[in-house]
């Protein structure tokens, strides 16, 4: 599973990285790590708009957004 570290990045960089990663795979999972609620919501919203399933887990100060493309 590809892991994308988007911590410390402002809008819309986490979404751009997520978009590029999802375009590379046909199906499967990627994990995007962000460090604020805005980025977490933006990445989740983008993934859902692409028909993916999204699971968010908070670990310490960071959010792990697990995206499943089917």
């Amino acid at each position: 599973m590809e892991e994308i570290d988007a911590r410390g990045m402002g809008c819309p960089h986490p979404v751009i990285l997520t978009k590029k990663a999802l375009e590379k795979i046909k199906e499967g999972k990627i994990s995007v790590i962000v460090d604020n609620t805005t980025s977490c919501e933006n990445v989740s919203r983008y993934a859902k708009s692409q028909g993916c399933q999204v699971k968010v887990e908070k670990k310490g100060d960071d959010y792990y957004v697990e995206i499943t493309k089917e």
């Binding site: 911590r7 410390g8 990045m9 402002g10 809008c11 819309p12 960089h13 979404v15 751009i16 978009k19 460090d35 604020n36 609620t37 805005t38 919501e41 933006n42 919203r45 983008y46 708009s49 100060d61």
Partner: protein, 345 residues
């Protein structure tokens, strides 16, 4: 009801900002200037003595409220995060050019929206310019433009700007003789501060941004932030209408030069995409601990002083030669900076 409001927080934030802005005008703020980041930071520059225009000197409580509202709500919800170090001096410079561009148009993207909602047709050129600037910005983003990651900092760093905001509020309340407080028009202190705190708190939760909507739509067809922009437009228009402030065709504190209204906000739109948020959004980010945004705001205040001293600022009669030159310099500078800051994967 509560849940549906929570799910549509971006629309609620826009509605509250739009309604509050019209009410602030009713109670004394200048026309179509219930909220304007450029104008109000310029007034703060005047109150600090950075320019000599007597009518434009006030520590605007709305802006201080945005910063403190975002600070309070992010602290309560544990979203406060002290961070910085993403090209600070470049952000200061870009912030300066964003301020120059806004003072050529006579308003930041927030005021552009409020000018439209007040019936000012000249603001349409600003809207087109802002969208074009956002388009240029998205092209740079597609090429890999970034100012780099920020790093986590000791919390003390993030407290500085909210602390400064408290000091400025105290200065307005106490009015010591050494500061300059001579604005043309302003709503009562507590009303302005209350509006600022409520808007700042909501915007911290919803992420309202006046450039982000166009950027995100152009990039990934995401309409979330655009809803906030349209909500401000609609609710400010309706409130203006009810308060009999809507005046179609009038451009109070605006000028009719289409090209320079367009180019002024092109610079603002492009600069705001590079800065990851419009001037309004910068105050919210600064409130929740982003010191790069804090430095951007200081760059804007600094630029406002220069803009008045060096006669860059437009008047209702039109632009100045100096203003046109600095707009073109700004556009070229931002594009060069954009190309030089592309990162290869």
């Amino acid at each position: 009801m509560w849940k549906s409001l929570k799910n549509n927080l971006i629309v609620v934030t826009g509605a509250v900002l739009g309604i509050a802005a019209a009410i602030l005008v009713k109670y004394g703020n200048p026309p179509n200037m219930g909220v304007c980041l450029a104008c109000f930071l310029r007034d703060i520059a005047g109150a600090l003595g950075l320019h000599q225009v007597e009518k434009l000197r006030y520590f605007r409580p709305e802006i201080l409220g945005f910063i403190l509202g975002a600070f309070i709500i992010s602290s309560l919800r544990k979203d406060f995060r002290s961070e910085g170090g993403s090209s600070p001096i470049l952000r200061f410079l870009i912030g300066m050019f964003v301020m120059f561009g806004a003072l050529i148009f006579l308003g930041c993207p927030t005021r552009m929206t409020l000018r439209l909602a007040g019936g000012d047709p000249t603001a349409i050129a600003g809207l087109f310019g802002l969208i074009f600037g956002a388009f240029l910005g998205t092209q740079l983003l597609k090429q890999g433009f970034t100012l780099g990651r920020s790093q986590r900092l000791n919390n003390f760093n993030g407290f500085i700007l909210p602390f400064l905001a408290v000091i400025l509020l105290l200065l307005v309340a106490i009015k010591p003789s050494f500061i300059y407080l001579t604005p043309t028009g302003h709503a009562p202190f507590l009303l302005s501060l209350f509006a600022g705190l409520v808007i700042g708190s909501l915007a911290q939760r919803s992420g309202l941004c006046f450039v982000g909507g166009f950027r995100n739509y152009l990039l990934v067809r995401d309409t979330y932030l655009l809803k906030g922009f349209f909500s401000v437009l609609v609710f400010a228009f309706l409130t203006n209408f009810v308060l009999k402030q809507f005046s179609f065709g009038a451009s109070p504190i605006g000028h009719k030069e289409f090209l320079w209204n367009f180019l002024g906000l092109t610079v603002v739109g492009l600069g705001s995409v590079m800065l990851e948020g419009c001037p309004f959004r910068q105050t919210i980010l600064a409130g929740r601990g982003n010191t790069d945004s804090a430095l951007t705001i200081l760059g804007m205040v600094f630029a406002a002083g220069i803009a008045h001293n060096y006669l860059f600022v437009s008047s209702p009669q039109g632009t100045t030669i100096n203003g046109r030159i600095i707009t073109l310099i700004g556009l070229v500078f931002l594009l060069i900076l954009g190309f030089l800051n592309r990162q290869k994967e």
